[in-house]
Structures are given as structure tokens and as C-alpha cells.
């Protein structure tokens, strides 16, 4: 099957998720267009992680459909499913690196599993990814326990990028990083998008990231995506939670910083 890469990489229609009687999402509609960086925000417990897991296929929704590149997930065959999986890279919150392997081996895991590249080439490509995410070359042979939090995220990103995915999921990529590290990470994502031309969905609480790199912001509130639009439009949206979220002092500081950078 040829994946039609011009179609939206991910689309959710009428999703309902619930645990027992506890409904998390109700009639949730959401779409990410090709090539854009979408930030997903929502209060703690609003179901961001559940949505992410649902989109990734780690959890089946109780109702509704997920489409990848315009194709229903249920209709995909095993082979097609795997092919689409290879087009999706995930950076988990703590990096989720395999602790028994070096950074290079971690990056090689997806390549080993899904390609027939020679071992030597895989090693070299892994080193290239390490370089691309801005890690020093020596980190290739280090174990995750030897890395700092920021380096773990970069290494996790390198693994997510191992197969040149079309779609990148980032779960709180800048959480736990210092402002300098967080800015650098934001710029890294922008730079890599330029080179690799992928689509990004990031769950984030980092207002600076939202202002600096997101093309659109999706707000998960009241069990559905209330609005998914450019930041100025989201800021005008009339909802108490949105007003409070973007109207707070932190947001204003981030906004002025963000406009300074862009202006």
C-alpha cells in the first residue's frame, strides 16, 4: 500500500473514551494537517494522555474512528498498520529509553526491527541522528542512566526520528528542562522539521513553546477539543478555562517574549 502522504496524518472523528462509567472524551473531533506543529493543551486530568494513547493506537476508543493519512484504522491490514506505525515517532515524557542499551543501540532498535540496512550503515545513521538532535558524539556509547534529563529527551527524540517518520508525537518535550534547554529544544524541533518535513503533535504545558513554535493550538476541555486554531484565535475564544490559562501572568510573560522573538 502506498501511503498518501498528502492526506492529514492524523484525524479523530467522534471519539468517546471512558473508563467504566467515567467518560473522558465525548464526541471529540480533531485533525492535524500535514507539516504543521500542533500544541495540545488541557488541564491536569483532562485526558491529554488518554487522547495521545488513543491516537497512537495504544488504546482503542469506545466509539469513533481514528484515521491515519485518510484511512480508517480499523480497516488497515497488519502490514499496512506496521507501515503506518513506521511513519510515526513518539517521544515519551521521560525519554523511555531502554536502559540496558547504549544511546546508539536505542536508536538502532527501530531500524533493526523494520529495515534491512546493514549493521554498519545502521550504526553510522544512528550517529548521524545523534548529531542531528544536538548530542555530543561521545554520547553514542553512553547508557541512559549516564545522561541528564535534557540529554535523555534528545536521545529519545533521536530514537523517535530513527525511521524518518512523517508524524512526530511529543509528550511534554520541554517539561523538566531549564529555560535555555527548553528554548534549544524548541529550536531543534523547528530546525528538524525544516530538514525532515514532518508533522508534530505535542502535548505541552510550556507556554513559551506554544508561543514560539506551534502553528495551531488545540484546547482539550469539557471532554472534547473546544478549539484548534492559531494562537490569536484561541486567545479570543470565550471559555473560562481558556481565558484563565492564557490570561494568567505566566502566559502574558510568554506572549511578550514570543512576539519579541517573532517580531
Amino acid at each position: 500500500m502506498a501511503i498518501d502522504k498528502t492526506m492529514p496524518p492524523i484525524e479523530a472523528r467522534g471519539i468517546r473514551s471512558q473508563f467504566g462509567t467515567n467518560v473522558i472524551h465525548e464526541d471529540l473531533n480533531f485533525m492535524v494537517n500535514r507539516g504543521e506543529i500542533v500544541g495540545l493543551v488541557g488541564g491536569s486530568g483532562a485526558g491529554k494522555s488518554v487522547l495521545m494513547n488513543t491516537l497512537l493506537g495504544l488504546k482503542e476508543p469506545e466509539a469513533g474512528v481514528i484515521r491515519y493519512f485518510g484511512r480508517n484504522r480499523q480497516d488497515l491490514s497488519e502490514v499496512e498498520r506496521r507501515e503506518i506505525n513506521n511513519e510515526m515517532g513518539v517521544l515519551f515524557q521521560g525519554g523511555a529509553l531502554f536502559s540496558s542499551m547504549t544511546v546508539r543501540e536505542n536508536i538502532m532498535v527501530p531500524m533493526r526491527e523494520h529495515t534491512n540496512l546493514s549493521l554498519k550503515l545502521m550504526r553510522e545513521l544512528a550517529d548521524m541522528k545523534i548529531h542531528m538532535v544536538g548530542l555530543p558524539a561521545v554520547s553514542a556509547t553512553l547508557y541512559p542512566s549516564d545522561l541528564s534529563g535534557g540529554m535523555k529527551k534528545r536521545a529519545g527524540l533521536a530514537r523517535a526520528l530513527a525511521l524518518d517518520p512523517e508524524m512526530l508525537f511529543l509528550d511534554e518535550p520541554t517539561a523538566g528542562l531549564d529555560p535555555i534547554g527548553a528554548n534549544a529544544f524548541d529550536e531543534l524541533i523547528l530546525g528538524l522539521r525544516e530538514a525532515m518535513n514532518f508533522t508534530v503533535l505535542m502535548v505541552t504545558h510550556d507556554l513559551d513553546s506554544l508561543y514560539a513554535i506551534c502553528d495551531r493550538v488545540a484546547v482539550l476541555v469539557d471532554k472534547h477539543i473546544a478549539i484548534a486554531d492559531t494562537l490569536p484565535k484561541v486567545l479570543e475564544y470565550d471559555h473560562p478555562w481558556v481565558k484563565e490559562y492564557f490570561g494568567g501572568p505566566r502566559s502574558r510573560a510568554a506572549m511578550s517574549a514570543g512576539t519579541k522573538v517573532q517580531g
Binding site: 540496558s100 540496512l117 546493514s118 550503515l121 545513521l125 548529531h131 558524539a137 526520528l161 525544516e194
Partner: protein, 377 residues
């Protein structure tokens, strides 16, 4: 898969080569391209590469990396290069690949040197391990005696909970195992001694073997497998989740909170477990003596046991148990506290812990055997 083929054409003029790429330069085509490319580039002599990407359909990082092969000379060195035709994305990708081939560190092959280093490191680690264990034991006794002077500071609640965990819960398995061992000894004795017509001596055999050696050793080894590993895993997991650090910061002494209660619980549990193991071991022997071919009645068995197996054997067996208890508790806790951040180290520390504990138990038992032999007990 579905991607179409990739090709390249290299043309040379002077010291400059023009690298014209066509088709899909993606990972599906990478393997064969790579081989040819390396071979062909090796034969050329040049110092500038011009890339023409105008006929490239798809390009990913693998393809870009292959392009960059043309400009790599050695670690930290590359030829000049330029892209004469190609879109922005391709140029950016090419730039990333070109930087990546530059940044790779020199990979030195020093096998003998590395082997020597590893031997040195292993030796150093061994001595450090010994020193740290001794230090740990010293610290343990200091804290222990300090606490014995102020018994109200001992965490009795966790001591009792741990006694339930490592003593009470282990009783059934210890007794069953010891029962089998006693029975096996009795069977062996019955067969051997029957040839001399001396079946009644199997009572001595079972009594001495079980009371003196087997019951304490079986109990200790079982505890080493069961509780020692649990100590290491529990404390190691706490260490990984920074609970130990939190304790230290709050002002709790890890020895006081974690190590001493475990040691006390082991000190209480081990003799009791050993006693139970002795009972069931002798009982197993008695059953075999009665129901097996030797046909010794239980009354005869018990009388013979009282007459010929001195109480000294019982005490010899029991006196070793506190030492075993301390070995198990100290090694378990020490390895647990030595766990570092990784899952790997938790696993290896748990393994080390069990191996060391069993080794130490058997070694100490051997020392006791020599000691008692010299003393004539």
C-alpha cells in the same frame, strides 16, 4: 516495497565531481547503493563535490547520509561541497548529513590496551567491594549497638512486620524442604547400613546430619534466596526512586530505618526457622525409618535419638544461625544500597547479593565445622 529505484551519475572535471542523483534516495534502497557508492568513490580523486538533486523524487536522512559519504575524508575532515540544484528541504537535510559525517569521533582500536584496562578496573572494583563491605559491616555494628543502648528508638513495628515476612511466611517452605532432606538422608542411610546389618544407626545419621549441618544450612540458603534478594530489590528500588535520598535529607538514618530492622528480624527468625527445620527433618527421617525397609518404630527411633545423638549437636547447629542471619541481612541491604539509577544495576546487584550471601553462608559454615572439630565438639 513500493519505492522506485535510485540511481546516481558521477562525472568528473578537474578536481571537481558532479554528483547527480535520481529517483528515491530512501532507506529501502540504501543497502545496495551504499556498497556501489563506496567502491566507486574510492577510485576517484577529487576535492570538491557538486550535488545535483533536481531529479530526486524522495530524500530521507538515509539518502542524505549516503550523499555525504562523498565528502567525508576522515574524522573531522571533509571535502568542499555545494548543491547546484535542489529544493530547500534537500539542502537542509544535506547540511545536517554533512555536519554529521564531520562530527564522528576517531574510533581507536586498542584491544590489548583496553583488555589491560578492564583487568585493572575489575581488580580495583574487587578491592573496593571488599573495603566497602567491611565499612558497611562496621557502620552496621556501630548503629546497631547505639540502638541497643536506646531500644525505644528501634523501629519495632517494622521489625515485627519483617519477622512475619521473612520468618513466619518462610516456615512452610523451610519445613517441607527439610522434611525431604531428612527423608533422603534416611533412605541413603537405610540402604548403606543395611549391608552391614546396622540399620539402627540410621537414627544417628539422620540426627547428626540434620541437627548439625543440614537444617541450619538449608534454612540459611533458602533465606538467602528468598529474603536476601527481597532486601536488595526493595532497598534498590527505593534507591532508584530517590526515597533513600529523601530519607537522608529529612534526617533519617538509613541504617536505623532499613538495615537494623532487617537484621533484627533475621536474627529472630533464623533460629526459629532452623529449629522448625530440625523438627521436620528428623520427622522425615523417622517416617522413612518406620515405613521403609528398616522398619524402626517411632518409639525406638526417638529412644535411640535420645541415647546416641547428644544435645551438643543441636546446639552446634543452632549457634551458627545468628551468624547466617547477619550475613543475609547485611549483604542484602548493602547490595540494595549500592544500586544506582539503572534497571540494569538493580538486576545485577540482586544477583550479586544472592551469590555473595550463599557463598558467605557456606564459607562460614565450613569455618564453623573446622572450629568445632578442633574443639572436639
Amino acid at each position: 516495497m513500493n519505492s522506485s529505484a535510485a540511481e546516481y551519475k558521477i562525472s568528473q572535471s578537474g578536481r571537481t565531481i558532479t554528483f547527480r542523483a535520481l529517483g528515491d534516495w530512501t532507506r529501502d534502497n540504501a543497502n545496495s547503493l551504499d556498497m556501489d557508492l563506496i567502491r566507486e568513490l574510492d577510485d576517484l580523486d577529487y576535492d570538491h563535490v557538486k550535488y545535483d538533486f533536481s531529479e530526486v523524487d524522495h530524500l530521507d536522512t538515509v539518502g542524505a547520509f549516503l550523499f555525504a559519504r562523498a565528502i567525508r575524508i576522515g574524522p573531522g575532515q571533509r571535502h568542499n561541497w555545494s548543491v547546484i540544484a535542489g529544493n530547500e528541504g534537500q539542502k537542509t537535510l544535506m547540511q545536517a548529513a554533512a555536519d554529521a559525517v564531520l562530527g564522528r569521533p576517531p574510533h581507536a582500536q586498542r584491544q590489548w590496551y583496553d583488555a589491560l584496562i578492564r583487568i585493572g578496573q575489575a581488580t580495583e572494583r574487587f578491592f573496593i567491594e571488599v573495603m566497602e563491605t567491611l565499612g558497611f559491616i562496621g557502620q552496621f555494628f556501630v548503629v546497631m549497638f547505639k540502638l541497643l543502648l536506646t531500644p525505644n528508638k528501634i523501629r519495632w513495628k517494622s521489625v515485627v512486620a519483617l519477622i512475619e515476612e521473612i520468618g513466619f511466611n518462610a516456615a512452610p517452605i523451610v519445613m517441607v524442604l527439610s522434611f525431604f532432606i531428612g527423608a533422603v538422608i534416611a533412605y541413603m542411610g537405610a540402604n548403606l547400613l543395611a549391608t552391614f546389618g546396622a540399620s539402627v544407626f540410621m537414627v544417628d545419621l539422620v540426627g547428626v546430619a540434620v541437627l548439625r549441618e543440614l537444617a541450619p544450612i538449608i534454612t540459611a540458603i533458602l533465606l538467602a534466596g528468598r529474603s536476601d534478594s527481597a532486601f536488595t530489590a526493595q532497598i534498590g528500588a527505593m534507591k532508584m526512586r530517590q526515597e533513600i535520598d529523601a530519607m537522608t535529607v529529612i534526617g533519617l538514618d538509613t541504617f536505623e530505618v532499613l538495615v537494623v530492622p532487617r537484621a533484627l528480624a533475621a536474627l529472630v527468625s533464623t533460629p526459629i526457622l532452623t529449629f522448625l527445620a530440625m523438627l521436620s527433618g528428623v520427622f522425615g527421617g523417622m517416617l522413612v525409618a518406620w515405613l521403609g525397609s528398616a522398619d524402626l518404630s517411632p518409639i525406638l527411633f526417638v529412644t535411640r535419638l535420645q541415647d546416641s545423638v547428644g544435645i551438643a549437636h543441636f546446639w552446634v547447629g543452632l549457634v551458627k544461625t545468628p551468624f547466617f542471619a547477619l550475613i543475609i541481612a547485611i549483604i542484602g541491604c548493602r547490595q540494595g544500597l549500592a544500586v544506582t539509577g539503572s534497571v540494569e544495576s538493580l538486576g545485577s546487584r540482586t544477583t550479586t547479593s544472592v551469590v555473595q550471601a550463599i557463598f558467605a553462608v557456606i564459607a562460614v559454615d565450613a569455618i564453623f565445622a573446622i572450629l568445632f572439630y578442633q574443639m572436639g565438639v
